[in-house]
Symmetry: none
Subunit: 189 residues, 4 copies
């Protein structure tokens, strides 16, 4: 079935995009990686840009789906936030290459596709913001600007793709706990 080949191509592309960047990766590089000729690749992909779009789209989609399912659960806001952080970091670190491509390379997309990714990222932000708002309403959290606070949390979590490789000893679980503690309790004694 062709979906095997397509998947193989996507995997190779993710690896290459992560290593060299989207623009520095040639179609030839991808073809070499999967043992096809450059021309043959076009039986499986519409274009190099589309390939990147598929990767980025599927990645952000997964983030959104996971978070949505957390929001749907019947647990406290605090628990939702902790779960969100743990899930987000686990997913980021388990698929570090894909996550890197998502956050670092999606900018190379044309206006249209980029807009789609941006909208989905925005949706993700909305969901995080909603958790905070739930916490405020339930009296668990004290937040004056939930959107900016959500952006702070997301920034901290997403930045991980830039440093995790070097600090390899920590697990996603470890980091979640440190992050959760920081965001929930703060630094002050």
């Amino acid at each position: 079935m062709s979906s095997n080949k397509q998947n193989e191509i996507a995997l190779a592309a993710v690896k290459l995009f992560e290593q060299k960047g989207y623009r520095a990766t040639s179609v030839q590089d991808i073809a070499d990686a999967v043992g096809l000729q450059k021309g043959s690749l076009y039986h499986y992909i519409a274009s190099k840009e589309d390939l990147l779009m598929q990767i980025a789209h599927q990645a952000i989609l997964q983030f959104n789906e996971q978070l949505q399912s957390i929001l749907d659960q019947d647990i406290s806001a605090r628990q939702k936030l902790e779960l969100m952080i743990r899930t987000h970091l686990t997913m980021s670190i388990d698929n570090l290459e894909t996550t890197t491509v998502l956050w670092r390379e999606a900018f190379a997309l044309g206006e249209g596709p980029q807009e789609v990714i941006a909208r989905m990222s925005d949706e993700y932000l909305n969901l995080v913001t909603r958790i905070l708002q739930e916490g405020v309403q339930s009296g668990e959290f004290h937040v004056t600007e939930p959107r900016v606070t959500a952006l702070a949390i997301l920034g901290a979590c997403n930045w991980v793709y830039r440093w995790y490789q070097q600090t390899g000893s920590l697990t996603a679980e470890d980091i979640s706990q440190i992050f959760s503690h920081l965001f929930l309790d703060g630094l002050l004694t």
Copy 2:
């Protein structure tokens, strides 16, 4: 004086790199922006990559210098952290284009230059970590993993280049207070 022209070129390059990305910006684009022929540009720059390096290097240098001067002050760790956040965000937002180029485009640099920037970013991280450690020693902060915590704070602060443009109503000052509150006191009521 030639430094005027060089500066003009750097400014134009920053703007273009921010808008289109480094790789999508051609030397021709930069030449057009400053009203020179493509070839004439090379009186002022060594290469397109070197131009990017200059921009990124000067940017990270400024971050480091500012933070170093904060560390040198005789104030509490808490005050240092607050000051660090305010200064970092102010600088990021006042020079949003440059900051964007630094964090988004430096990856396009070759191995050598990229390593230089990485080392300097690492130095910045060390300084933030040291603030946290000072706070622990003074009894102000409770931190188990100062490096990871510093990465969280930095991630939150650096992510700003990705969202500030759309949330234009907030000042750097506003955001610093929200961030400081979050990191110092946490979300919990």
Copy 3:
């Protein structure tokens, strides 16, 4: 088959390199000569320099092979020398363009490739020197400095590419006899 095209390209390149010189010949010139787009040429060649290298290498290789086969024959040193001169001149004149490129343009090669050609030329010199030494041992020749003498003979023979075109009436055979007579018997009556 691609080897046809590759050969066609090499032939066109030889002709152009001989006429205008390697550096004055643009890749565009070669492309025009074979009716391809500039970019399409790169399906067949690795680089312009590599193209020159192929030409030069194949030329000097042929010289060496021919001379080696002469040395392997069971004939007198005098006969070997006469045969060497005849063969060398015949090959030079029959492939005057290639020979010209070899002796005139190989200097444009980068250090590595140039070294390879130099080493092979040196090997050729060694073979000629050996003929002279054989002649000395057999008592046929009187030579005090076989290497320098070989260089004299080779210089005379290789210089031909610089003047043959204008003196077109003489055949390689004619010239060989004149050269052989000069080197064997000398000018004196």
Copy 4:
């Protein structure tokens, strides 16, 4: 006086042309070598090509003048030939850089200047040929094709620029004797 500067420039150019070749030597290289700005060089030279022409022209002129003065002497043809060889090799080796530029780089000249050099080289050939003819008439030499024989001798002598550097132990005098012996007496015992 400006002729000093001009001379300095010519000397630097010779050295560079010999090392890197005319085309690979930039005007900047020459300017650097004499401590001037690129633009300032044009107070002393008409063009890069003209600079090459001056060098080549002066070199071939000297060869011709020297040979002419030999022909004017009242000595035997044999002595003239020996003297020609000695003088030619001495000049070649004493000014190896200039000689190299003359024989290797003059081809880079445009049609007009190249023609001038070619005509002067031809004149040199004529003079050598005349020596041989004199020897035939005086009964000293046995030569059937004096022009081709002259070309053989010249080829051997001019080729020297290609190998002398590596065989540095031999003096011009040494080589002249070997060459003279070869051309006058031949190899045969």
